[in-house]
Amino acid sequence: MAGNQRPAILIVTHADFGEALLRAAEVIIGRQEGVATLSLAEGESLEGFRDKVGEAIGALDRESGVLVMLDLFGGTPANAAALNLLQPGVECVAGVNLPMLLEVLMKRDRLRVDELATLAVEAGAAGVADVRKALEARTKGG
């Protein structure tokens, strides 16, 4: 297997969230290759958007699979992406946030797409914190 093989990433969200999220990630870890974003416009149907997600997946380098990252479980971007899960090498995770995206981008050279999906869910949850409580725990523990 070629050393530079890594899963491609597609971020599918309501409005321009995915684009902004990717920009934020790039501020922190630098410019990324093999990452695409797709926005759900108002007025798009479920089946119409399913096909657009399919086209966006097809436009990526699919050699090592595609991880599709969605903003809201149960929303149309996630529903439309789920309808593409019958394609081989496609995995979907919902609830994308910056901790999740950063972890995925930093580890994707080393992991298969299904492993990356598992990692994404863990990192997304682990990155959520009440800052005051985190601070207080540190003060008490110190």
Binding site: G43, L46, G48, L72, G74, G75, T76, N79, A82, L83
Partner: protein, 165 residues
């Protein structure tokens, strides 16, 4: 008798606006009926919609005929609160003609495309669909166009079409 708490035309069916806003606005429901022939034929699409439905709410995907039959078979002791999601005005008119108890029709999602004219916000319709919506209104069903229940004043078909003349 079971109650239709919301009858909505929305070609995204179950999604964020419906689950987060409309469900709360109508005060919850027991079941969601998707009444759509194409979805009835597509088991995978049904599974994805089931996944998107809020926990505790039963989803039933019916053809139009099955929907009509389901309502005909409901007894007076049936107290279910039902949200009815439809793809287009043709489906709505058919159900209304067959006495499915729809007092008011919410038009929330019909996409743009060739031969379709924008009606309100991102809701578009063909000339045929506009005629069908008028036919629904002529049957005494209020037709409102509204994407989400708050932050969107909405409009009704009657004033919309009056404004166009």
């Amino acid at each position: 008798m079971a109650q239709v708490v919301l009858a909505r035309i929305d070609d995204r069916f179950i999604h964020g606006q419906v689950v987060t806003k409309w469900l709360q606005y109508v005060g919850g429901c027991d079941e969601i009926f998707i009444s759509d022939h194409a979805m009835r034929q597509d088991a995978f699409l049904q599974t994805v919609m089931e996944m998107a439905a809020p926990p505790g709410i039963k989803l039933r995907v019916y053809s139009l005929e099955e929907t009509i039959q389901a309502f005909q078979e409901m007894g007076p002791e049936d107290r279910r609160r039902i949200m009815l999601l439809l793809r287009d005005p043709r489906a709505a008119l058919r159900l209304i003609e067959e006495n499915v108890p729809i007092q008011e029709l919410n038009v929330g999602g019909m996409g743009a495309g060739p031969g379709r004219v924008p009606l309100y916000r991102n809701i578009s319709a063909s000339q045929e669909e506009i005629s069908l919506l008028q036919a629904i209104q002529d049957k005494g069903v209020k037709v409102g166009l509204r994407v989400v229940p708050d932050g969107d004043a909405g409009t009704d078909l009657a004033s919309l079409l009056k404004g166009r003349r």
